[in-house]
Structure formats: C-alpha cells, structure tokens
C-alpha cells in the first residue's frame, strides 16, 4: 500500500512538472512565426524596383546640374561657344553620360575635366550613378539591376520658365532576383533651378569671371504679383547684386551657350553690364554685345540716356528708351548727345 502511494504521488508530481513546463512563458517557434523567405525576397525586390524611378530622377537632377557647370567651365576656358543648338544638346548628352566632349578645335573626344583642369564630372556622370545603384543592389539586396538610358535632351519652355531648365530622359530598368524579374521603360523629366550657375555668355564676352545670381528673385520675377514695380532704387540694387530679370526680348539661359542673342518669349533673361564699358550702347548684356537694341543702334540716330543716380564718372551707365520704361526710370534719364 505504501509503495503504491509513493508511486502514485511521484506520478502526480511528474504530471504537474510536465504541465508547468508545457505552459511556462517560453517563446515558441511556430508555423506562424516562420519567415516566408521567398515572399520577403519578392517584396524587397519589388520595393527596390519601384524606387528606381526616384533614384533616376535624383541622379538625373544631380548629373544635369554638374554637366551644366562643366560645360560652362569648358566655354569659359576655351572662350568659344557651341556652334548650334544641336551641337550643344549633343554635347550635353555626351557629357552627362560619359564626362567627355568632342573638342571643337580638333574634333577629338576628350574628358571635360582635363580641358579645364578641375574635377567636376569625375564620378558624377549619370553612368557613374547608374553603376553605383547597380553595385549597391547587388551588394546589399543581392539583386541584378540594369538601367539603360535611351534618350537625353535639355530644354527650356513655358513649363520650365525663366529660372529652370528641363532635362528629359528615357530609360529602361530591369531587376532580377533569381526567383523573379522586373522590367519597364520610363520617361523622366527633371527641372533644374539655374540659380548659382554661371552665365557663359557674359563671361566670354566680358573676358572676366562673372556670376549668375538670383538673390532678388522675388522682386525681379514676381514684382507684378507682389504689387511692386521697378524704380531707381531697385535698379541700383539690380546692378549692385548682378541679378537677372525676365525679358521676352532677351535670350534664355541655354541660348547663352551658343551665342544666340535672339528673343526667348517664354524664358528670356537679361542682366545689366556692371562694369564700365567702352561702347556707346545700352548697358543690357545681350544688347551691349549684340549692338542691336531699340533706340541704341549705332547705325541709326542715337537714343541713349544717362540715368541720374547711377551714371557717374567711373560708371558710364546708359539705357535706351525701351529699357528705361521697363525699369521705370524714364524720369531719371538725361539724353546723351553723341555724334556717331
């Protein structure tokens, strides 16, 4: 009897211990907690593929900006403009993709950075950025990525306006994760703010380094909407800060790479000649060097005016009637009596 009692007691204690162990707070690995490796991999690759548009957009924006800087340096260094819009667009595309350009003198393909002796394009071409993402996707996510760019073009139009340049890229993506693959073609357009870029036309024509600045943008571009209008004080600041103003009779930013001083209705911009020039010509950049603006044509009767408060012995600032009206300083004009 006692032996049976001990036996049953031990059995019951054993049962209790088993029950206790069974329901203690342990982390179980159940079917629910198992990671679906294949599903996770597909989701990861899909997310990455969806984000490639974003990467291309940022890479294009960056490479375009760097390319414009490089082309400006090239124009400055050689003091030559691109022969035509087609040549400029071709040079832009080539530089953006490879960092190279066809030298205008000997028609050889050269690296832009070697031409002007600065490291601007190195590692910053669109091709470099594409290689970076391909390498990263392979290294981090174990994906094979390929991006091909089919067409690149640069433009300015009513959408970009005076202060932006548009770059259009047509590209095809493919991603392979060994269990699934993705492909698509895409068209990407980016707009670059040109503030901070130099004006190649001004530099070459003036033989001095000059900077394009847009500090007075909300006055020079929006003075109508803000209710402001030009006056002598704003003109003085416009000259002092070397800013630009929209002008439909003036060339746009891209036209300045090809020495085209024709008018750009959508995107023309002009600035003031801020150094003391030797010409009897209105002190508006494209007019001054083009020597043709209403009221200041040297072959016609002169119609130039000194501007009181700006023109002085060290700065022979002059304007012709059209621009005097544009800047609202007609009342400050003193007719300049010049014998042709």
């Amino acid at each position: 009897m006692k032996k049976k009692g001990i036996f049953f007691t031990l059995v019951s204690i054993l049962l209790v211990i088993i029950l206790f162990i069974s329901f203690s707070s342990k982390e179980y690995i159940t079917q629910i907690d198992r990671v679906s490796a294949i599903k996770d991999r597909v989701i990861k690759a899909d997310n990455f593929f969806g984000n490639l548009d974003n990467y291309l957009e940022r890479a294009a924006r960056f490479s375009s900006y760097v390319t414009l800087r490089a082309l400006t340096e090239y124009v400055k260094y050689h003091s030559v403009f691109f022969p035509s819009p087609q040549d400029f667009r071709a040079a832009f595309k080539m530089a953006m993709l490879t960092g190279q350009i066809i030298n205008v003198s000997n028609l050889e393909v050269v690296y832009l950075d070697d031409e002007y002796g600065k490291s601007i394009m190195q590692g910053n071409t669109l091709t470099d950025k594409i290689e970076d993402i391909k390498d990263a996707s392979n290294r981090i996510l174990f994906l094979e990525t390929d991006i091909q760019t089919d067409n690149i073009s640069i433009y300015q139009d009513n959408e970009t306006g005076h202060w932006h340049v548009g770059v259009y890229i047509n590209a095809s993506f493919s991603v392979n994760s060994s269990i699934a693959s993705w492909e698509k073609n895409t068209n990407t357009s980016v707009e670059l703010d040109i503030s901070g870029l130099e004006n190649p036309y001004y530099y070459v024509m003036s033989k001095n380094q000059s900077f394009y600045k847009n500090e007075f943008e909300n006055i020079t571009t929006d003075f109508l909407t803000l209710g402001y209008s030009w006056n002598i004080s704003y003109l003085q600041k416009h000259i002092w800060y070397r800013t630009y103003k929209p002008e439909e009779k003036a060339p746009n930013f891209l036209m300045r790479f090809i020495n085209d001083t024709g008018n750009s209705t959508c995107c023309g911009i002009e600035s003031i000649i801020y150094f003391n020039g030797s010409k009897n010509m209105t002190y508006i950049d494209y007019c001054y060097w083009n020597e043709t603006c209403p009221g200041s044509d040297p072959d016609e009767d002169f119609s130039l005016y000194n501007i009181t408060g700006i023109t002085n012995d060290t700065y022979h600032f002059k304007l012709e009637p059209y621009h005097m009206a544009q800047y609202n300083v007609t009342d400050y004009g003193t007719w300049l009596n010049i014998t042709p």
Partner: protein, 165 residues
C-alpha cells in the same frame, strides 16, 4: 489502493498550490506576452522610416522635427525619414541623426523590444547592448540615397533596422 489514490490526489493538489504560489511570486510583474511577430515589427519599422516623407508628419506631434525645420537642419521636406537620417550621417551629424531616430521611432516600437538603426553599417541609434545575447534577432535592409543642395548626391547606402528581444 484507495489510500494510494488519496495520497496521490493530495500530493497533486499540494504541488499545484506550491507551483501556483511560485508562479505568482516570480512572474506577477512580467510584461504581457507579446502576441506580435518580430519579423513584422522589423518590416513595419523599416517601411515607416523608408516610406514616410518629412512633409507627411504633423510637426505638432514631433517637436524635434519642428525644431530641426526651423533651424534649417532639415531643408528638403520630400526626404523620407530614413533618407533624412542618412543625410545627417553623410554630413557628419551622427548625434543629430541619433536624436532624430529616437524621436521618430520611440512611439512605434513596443517597449519590450530592443532595436538598432544602422546606416552604412554604422550604428545610428541603439536601445540596448544585449543584441549578442538575444534569442531572436530580425534585420531588415533597404537602400537609401539623397541630394543635398543640387550639387552633392550621396549614396546609395544601406540602411538597416534590427529588432530583438
């Protein structure tokens, strides 16, 4: 035989009482057993950081975010949270990246979990140093990149969220 049954039942009941007492004493203050999946938390955290843009957040609920915007430490509001963390890392502001990460994640991950955010294999923020002794650790990765002031493109870098208990 009947006495055996009696003694067995008596022992069973006694043991149950003792076990219940020990359980109450030692586990009464335990946190509630997590019902969520560690993997899902890791993925959700990464999705939140990599998919939420700065401008989508209400500044009123994130005072640090508002402060950073006012101080011009955050200038591109189209950055995602993870991209902003990456930008702080790239420009050398690791402490700012850490504070920003803590502020963004402290209310979205349950307290019983520890987590770490890394960029380019560099620790940005870590709630605990017990990672090595953890039973289960889940890591989720993504690729981040960004543009600073039009003229500098950083990345692509790897960003990682690690969660463990």
């Amino acid at each position: 035989m009947k006495k055996g049954y009696v003694f067995s039942i008596d022992a069973f009941i006694a043991t149950m009482v003792i076990v219940a007492g020990i359980y109450i004493i030692f586990f009464a203050t335990s946190a509630e057993k997590p019902k969520t999946n560690l993997f899902l938390i890791s993925e959700d955290t990464l999705d939140f950081l990599a998919g939420t843009k700065i401008y989508e957040l209400n500044d009123e609920f994130y005072p640090l975010l508002k402060k950073l915007k006012n101080e011009m430490n955050i200038t591109d509001f189209s950055n995602t949270l993870m991209e902003q963390i990456g930008e702080f890392y790239v420009i050398g502001k690791i402490e700012l990246a850490s504070n920003f990460t803590r502020n963004m994640t402290q209310n979205i991950i349950p307290m019983q979990f520890n987590y770490q955010i890394l960029v380019n294999n560099t620790n940005i923020y870590n709630t605990s140093s017990t990672q090595e002794s953890s039973v289960t650790l889940i890591s989720s990765k993504t690729i981040i990149f960004g543009l600073i002031n039009k003229s500098y493109m950083w990345g692509p870098l790897d960003a990682e969220v690690r969660i463990w208990q």
